[in-house]
Symmetry: C2
């Protein structure tokens, strides 16, 4: 290990320690101040538009040079590039986070354990969250805003291709929030720093990677910090024997064509054999007219003229105008295919039969399972969750589209009057009442104030 590495690693430890200390204080910064600071970040970004665009131009120029060398792709350069419209949309995004309901201090449950002994479960920040992201400089601002809204300290690490842009945006954030606990938002830049950051599972509570599937996998495999995110979206639409075929065609089309690049777009269409001959020719025409490249299994190709699918097709997230089609025996066959090949993201059944819908919906293991609706609805905004923190295909902590609640945990507050456990133990043990206090809100000392 070189001297420089060691210094960078020590620096990362120190940043995380400061973030941890800041988090303890940030947890008790009131809602009005947090929202005021968010608006102040939005203002700072607007005021510094020129400097941000200049920094971004430096990044883009360097990336374009690498483009010529074949090191970077055009898509990366496109994601990197900011303009006035994008800077304004970053600023408005921060303002819209300020408008969201406060995720903190909500009494999630209240229960009387005994007379004058009351238990409250109240939402609080997690502590220190971190993000590691590629290209898009707006990710830095978005995660910082979501962290601040939810009272969390944050460690931000962007890609080297966006270093000037990230630095300019980070400076705007820090200067605008000088009133917040020192060190609440930290920025690291070197690869050695992120390697060390991923080791700090005692100081960092959650990592939210933003980038390609490979990138998210890399983070998941190289840290013991819980990761909120998803690698792939291999989503399916199953057209059942009892589907309304016109509706089914509309939904299958929407799920693929409306926006094929996103994780909730469909990758494989499953069709019940009893409707394949009627359903497939029309939907295939419609897909082909929209430029969708189709591949089918043998039973599909008996009905329509498409390229043969290979075994790999069933496990591929195309993220583009491509689709694989398979004909299945029945709903059980469909459930089996989905559980074998799906990524536990979003699955949809088209049927007018409630029992069949139930078999599919309860049988499929996925964060979101839809009945007669497009997979594209799986999204925090459409779900009404407000700001979307991410989409999780994990099952622990948060699943599916995740709102600000995904950046909170809870604390149990117990208000007593000198209660002892000894009174509830042994031969003359007093019983607990365990009565739910519906609608009660925790306020400190609520017993003595009565």
């Amino acid at each position: 290990m070189s001297e420089t590495d060691t210094d960078l690693e020590r620096g990362t430890d120190e940043l995380a320690r400061r973030a941890e200390r800041a988090a303890l204080r940030l947890a008790n910064v009131d809602e009005a101040t947090r929202n005021e600071m968010l608006r102040s970040i939005a203002d700072a970004i607007r005021e510094r538009e020129e400097a941000i665009l200049a920094a971004n131009a430096t990044d883009v120029e360097a990336a374009e040079a690498m483009l010529a060398d074949g090191e970077y792709t055009q898509a990366l350069v496109d994601r990197l590039k900011l303009d006035e419209t994008k800077v304004e949309s970053i600023a408005s995004m921060v303002e819209s986070v300020a408008e969201q309901d406060d995720p903190l201090g909500e009494t999630l449950a209240a229960r009387e354990l005994d007379e004058d002994l009351e238990l409250y479960r109240v939402s609080v920040p997690i502590g220190v969250v971190a993000t590691v992201f590629e290209s898009r400089p707006d990710a830095l601002v978005q995660i910082a805003a979501l962290a601040l809204k939810s009272g969390n300290a944050v460690v931000l690490k962007g890609g080297s291709e966006a270093s000037e842009s990230n630095r300019a945006l980070y400076e705007a954030i820090v200067d605008a929030t000088a009133d917040l606990p020192d060190g609440w938002a930290a920025h690291i830049e070197a690869h050695e720093e992120v390697d060390r950051l991923l080791e700090l599972d005692d100081r960092v509570d959650l990592v939210m990677p933003r980038g390609s599937s490979e990138f998210v996998s890399y983070i998941q495999e190289n840290t013991q910090i819980p990761v909120l995110g998803h690698t792939e979206g291999i989503c399916h639409v199953y057209v059942d024997a009892d589907a309304d075929l016109e509706t089914a065609a509309d939904v299958a089309f929407d799920a693929k064509v409306q926006y094929p690049a996103v994780c909730n777009a469909v990758e494989t269409l499953l069709v019940n054999e009893s409707v394949a001959a009627e359903f497939l020719p029309e939907i295939v025409d419609r897909y082909e007219a929209a430029g969708v490249e189709l591949r089918g299994d043998e039973r599909t190709r008996e009905v329509v003229d498409v390229d043969p699918a290979t075994a790999d097709d069933w496990d591929t997230e195309y993220g583009d105008l491509e689709l694989s089609i398979t004909v299945v025996d029945d709903v059980y066959d469909a459930v089996e295919h989905v559980n074998e090949h799906g990524s536990k993201h979003t699955e949809s059944i088209l049927t007018e039969d409630s029992d069949t819908a139930e078999t599919f919906m309860t049988g499929v293991d996925a964060a979101s399972v839809f009945h007669n609706a497009s997979t594209r609805f799986a999204d925090g905004y459409r779900y009404g969750l407000g700001a979307e923190v991410g989409i999780s295909t994990g099952k622990i902590h948060a699943r599916g589209p995740v709102g600000l609640a995904g950046l909170t945990t809870y604390k149990y507050y117990l208000e007593g009057d000198g209660h002892l456990v000894a009174s509830y133990s042994g031969e003359d043990a007093a019983p607990f009442t365990h009565r739910e206090l519906d609608g009660a809100e925790w306020t400190p000392g609520r017993l003595s104030d009565r």
Copy 2:
């Protein structure tokens, strides 16, 4: 790697794969069947009492031989030993799990997104849970029962010192649940198998270690599977300037003496300097009369005659009749000490001042923070959570005492009528209604049945 290791590892992979497949079917086994199977496990354990005790006697005999060699401690042998009363209490524990409310199929939230487009968040099993535990054979039965109640497949790994007992109990479980999906409960015995199990983060969703603090730490450090548990309980009681000192003495005594071996017992008493001279002499007498070994910092020793505390004392979970005492300037000083030395488990303040209570309760970072109550209340049964799955000092997924809900996650079910995302995009985008459907329960096809 030896041939045998490879076979064991392959065997572990296969067990986990079977558990994964079983989990998909177990998720839809109805409540009545799950409870019936639990009662059948209880019956089987009672029926096989003789065989279980014989198996246990073999383990105990072997352990006692190791005791002579100094390999095992008497405490381990005590934890290992079963008798008729213990077997009966294991059987009744399983029956009491059957009596609990069903944690599955609960509609946790319901929201109309638009007319005839309704989103439901419904509790479902996590999938495959695993436990790795030391000594106590009852842990095997308890985790299997909690897993079954919550519809999860389970992989069980006990210590080699209890191998005969574990095998006898596992056989009772498997024979009693022949009607459940094959492979729902797996049992592994070899060290190589647990090492491989901890690598299977793509198949196992949650690990619940049961054992010493070092043991839980070892599991946490050697797996990327989320761990539900806690290593240490370094809990504090802070006696404020505005405490009712008689109440404070009772609570401080209860928190240490009522049951010192458990994680929610107090390890350090913090006393506000303004009440130290009045409070300390009496409580010290009371502790000493109960056999509590006391250590104090300099300011404590100015008031009472106790041994000096060393720096290590503040970070030690005694788990015994031992206590460290420190005098602090004020509530802020107390909060700082707790956040520096606590294990985020359970903390308590004694004060009649609501503002001071609020400062402590919101300032301290712990799963449970109490006002005028003993730390010993931090427990799933006392909290009214029913069966306790464990106590978590982590902040992700579940925090504090965890009930059966800690073994569930949720699925989003969306019921539509052929809804397309295209209708909600672009220039003529329809708006979402995002209306909460309070009290609504998901039933498949609920729209068409209206």
